[in-house]
C-alpha cells in the first residue's frame, strides 16, 4: 500500500458564466436560442469574439499529493477555489480535466447539517444523515451511543431538530460525520459556528482522528490560527491555482503578511471588467491608515477606505455602502453614505471619490475584509456589490493609548473601543 492518500494531477474545473439572455435557462430561451443558433453561427464565423459566454476557471491546473495521516489546511481568499476543490474531491461535481486518485473512503462535511430534516427528531436525523453520508444501518446503530455522547444532546434526542439551538445542531451534525470513520475526512468551515468549547472538542477529535487512527484530514478555514494549530501542512490557493504548499507555519505566515499589505489596494485597469452596471462603475478601492506599519494598521490610528468610481449617466442618487467583516466571517458593521452632501442629490456623470473613515480604537485586532456596494434607495436598486474589495489587518499599537492597557493576553471580540468607565467610592 502506498503512502499517498490523495493525488491530484493538473486538475481543472471550468464554469461558463452566462451573460444576458444565456443566463436564463427556461424553455422559452431554449426555443429562442435554437432559432437564433444558425444566425449566431454565421455571426461567430465572421466575428470570433464571443461576448455572451465567458469562461471562468474556478480551479486551474492544480497538482499536489497528500500523504496518509496528514492534516492539511486549505486557505485562500473568498473565490480562490477552495470550495470547488472540495466539491471535486468529494465527487459532487465533475472536473473539466485532470485527474484525482483517492485511496479510501471519503466523507465530506461541507456544510453543517446538510441532510438534516428540521421536522425529524435528533434520533431520526442521526440515522438519516448517517445514511446520506454513506453509513449502513448496522454501522449507525453500533456507533449511535458514541455519537449521542459526543454531541451532548441526550436530553433532546426525541425533539425535532428545528427546535434545537444552532449550537446543538452543529454538535449533532459534526458528531455524525466524525464517527463515519472515513479514511479521508474533508471539513469546510464547520467550526465557524458553535461555542469555543465545542470548537476545541472538534479540533481535538480531528487531531485524534489523524494522529491515532492514521486518517487523512483536509481542513478549510478562514481562521488562520486554527489552521496553524491543527495542520502540519497547508495548501494556499489563489485564483484557482496552487500558490504555496508546505509547512503550515510558513504558508500561513506569508498568507497573512501578503494579505495585509497587498490586499489593502485594489484597482480595475480594465473598466469593462470592473464591478458596476450602466449607471456606475468601480475604479479602485484603497485602505490606508494614519500610520501604516509592515504588520498592518495600528489599532489606535484611524483607517481610511477610499473608493473611486465613475458615474456614467445622470439621474440617480447613489449611496455607497461598506460592510466590514471579521476574519471568521462575522459582520462587524455596515455603514452607508447618508450624511455627506449627496444624500438626496442625483449626481452628474463624472468621477467621484468617497472616503469612509473608521475611528481609532474601534476595530479589534485581526483581519478585516470590506465589501463595497453602491445602491440607490428610491426605487431600491443595487448597482454592484463586491465582496472582499480590500482587506487589512489591525494590529496592536506599539505606542499610545489603547483599551488593552497593560494586559498582555489574548483579547477576543470583534470591536475594541475605549469606552468611558467610572468608578467611585460609595
Amino acid at each position: 500500500m502506498s503512502d499517498v492518500a490523495i493525488s491530484v494531477e493538473s486538475l481543472s474545473k471550468r464554469y461558463i458564466i452566462g451573460h444576458r439572455h444565456s443566463k436564463q435557462d427556461g424553455i422559452r430561451h431554449v426555443i429562442e436560442n435554437t432559432i437564433r443558433a444558425p444566425l449566431q453561427w454565421l455571426r461567430k464565423r465572421t466575428d470570433q469574439k464571443n461576448s455572451e459566454r465567458e469562461e471562468f476557471w474556478a480551479v486551474k491546473d492544480l497538482s499536489f499529493e497528500i500523504n496518509r495521516g496528514e492534516v492539511v489546511g486549505i486557505i485562500g481568499r473568498n473565490g480562490a477555489g477552495k470550495s470547488t476543490l472540495l466539491k471535486l474531491l468529494s465527487r459532487i461535481t465533475e472536473p473539466t480535466s485532470g485527474r484525482i486518485q483517492i485511496d479510501g473512503r471519503v466523507a465530506s462535511l461541507l456544510e453543517v447539517g446538510t441532510g438534516f430534516h428540521p421536522e425529524l427528531t435528533g434520533r431520526e436525523n442521526i440515522f438519516l444523515n448517517g445514511a446520506i453520508l454513506g453509513m449502513s444501518r448496522v454501522e449507525i446503530r453500533r456507533k449511535f451511543d458514541e455519537i449521542v455522547a459526543f454531541s451532548e444532546v441526550e436530553r433532546f434526542l426525541d425533539t425535532p431538530v428545528k427546535r434545537y439551538s444552532s449550537g446543538m445542531y452543529v454538535r449533532l451534525a459534526f458528531a455524525v460525520a466524525a464517527h463515519l470513520e472515513p479514511e479521508i475526512l474533508i471539513v469546510d468551515e464547520v467550526l465557524a459556528v458553535g461555542d469555543a468549547q465545542f470548537q476545541k472538542k472538534c479540533l481535538g477529535k480531528i487531531q485524534d482522528v489523524s494522529a491515532n487512527q492514521g486518517r487523512t484530514v483536509l481542513f478549510v478555514s478562514h481562521q488562520i490560527d486554527s489552521v496553524t494549530r491543527l495542520c502540519k501542512k497547508t495548501l494556499w490557493l489563489n485564483q484557482g491555482k496552487l500558490h504555496q504548499f508546505g509547512p503550515a507555519d510558513a504558508v500561513c505566515h506569508s498568507y497573512l503578511s501578503l494579505d495585509s499589505i497587498a490586499g489593502a489596494k485594489r484597482h480595475w485597469p480594465d473598466q469593462r471588467k470592473a464591478p458596476g452596471n450602466e449607471w456606475v462603475r468601480l475604479e479602485s478601492v484603497e485602505a490606508s491608515s494614519e500610520q501604516s506599519t509592515t504588520d498592518g494598521f495600528p489599532i489606535n490610528k484611524r483607517v481610511f477606505i477610499k473608493a473611486t468610481y465613475t458615474v456614467l449617466q445622470r439621474g440617480k442618487v447613489f449611496v455607497p455602502n461598506m460592510h466590514f467583516f471579521a476574519e471568521d466571517g462575522t459582520l462587524i458593521f455596515i455603514s452607508h453614505d447618508w450624511f455627506s452632501g449627496w444624500k438626496n442629490t442625483p449626481r452628474p456623470a463624472g468621477r467621484y471619490e468617497t472616503c469612509f473613515t473608521i475611528p481609532a480604537n474601534f476595530l479589534s485586532e485581526g483581519r478585516v475584509s470590506v465589501k463595497l456596494a453602491i445602491s440607490t434607495y428610491r426605487p431600491f436598486q443595487v448597482h454592484f456589490e463586491e465582496p472582499d474589495v480590500v482587506a487589512f489587518t489591525v494590529v496592536e499599537a506599539e505606542d499610545g493609548e489603547t483599551s488593552r492597557g497593560d494586559y498582555a493576553g489574548h483579547l477576543p471580540g470583534i470591536v475594541r473601543p475605549i469606552i468611558p468607565i467610572a468608578t467611585r467610592v460609595l
Partner: protein
Amino acid sequence: MSKLIIEAGRTERQYWRDLWRYRELFYFLAWRDLLVRYKQTVVGVAWSLIRPLLTMMVLTLVFGKLGKMPSGGVPYPLLVFCGMLPWQFFSTALSESGTSLVTNSNLISKIYFPRLVVPVSSVITSFVDFLISAVFMVGMMVWYHFVPPASALLLPLFVLLAFAASLGVGLWIAALMVKYRDFRFIVPFIVQFGLYLSPVGFTSSVVPEQFRLLYSLNPMVGVIDGFRWCILGGEHLLYLPGLAISVAGVIVLVTTGIAYFRKTERTFADVI
C-alpha cells in the same frame, strides 16, 4: 480499501457499484418523506385515502350517474376505484419524483451519492400510499360482496408496469426540472389532463375501436386496463395489441429516462 479515480467522464464505472453501496439510502429517503409528509396535519395518513375517495365519488357521479357510461357489470364505484388505484400512484409518483431533485438541492450541492436514489425513493414513497389505497380497495370489494377472478394473481405484473411507468416519466421530469423549472408548471397539467385522458372514470371499451391502438400510446391505458382485468374480470377483457404498445412504451420511457438522467446527472450540482 477502495481506490477511486476521478476524471472527466469517468464516473460511469463506479456508478452502479456506488448505487449498490448506497442501497439503504433508498429506504431512508422514502422513510424520511413518509415521516415528514403528515407531520403537523390533523388527520395524518388518512389524507392518502381521502384524496382518492373524493375523486372516486366525483368521477362516479359525473361518468356513472350523469354520463350513464357502461360499467361492464360491476358497481361503478368499484370500476372507478380500480382505475384510481394505479392512476393515483402514477400521478403522485410523477409529481413527487419530478420535484424531488429540486427540493433536495441542498443535498445535491453538498454531498455525493448516486443521484438516482432521490427520484426512485420518491416513487417508493408514493408506492406506500398505493398500498394503503389497495387495502381500502379490498375493503370496498368486501362491502360489495365482490369476489375477484383468478386473474387477480397476475396483478403484481401490472403493479410492476405501473411502477416502471411512474419511474420512467419521473426520471425524465426530475432531470429536466433541474435545468428547466418550467416543468414545475407543466407537471400539474399532465396530472390534471391525464386523469381524463386515461380511462380512470370510464372503461377504455367506450373508446371507438379504430382509435384504441392510438389510445394505448398512453402507457397508463395498458396499466389501468390490466388492473381492471385482474381485479374485476368479467367483461373487462385485455386488449392485447394495446397492452403490447403500452409495455413497449414503458420500456422505452424507463431506458431513455435512465440514460438521460445519467447524462445530465454530472452537471446537477453546477446547475441546480
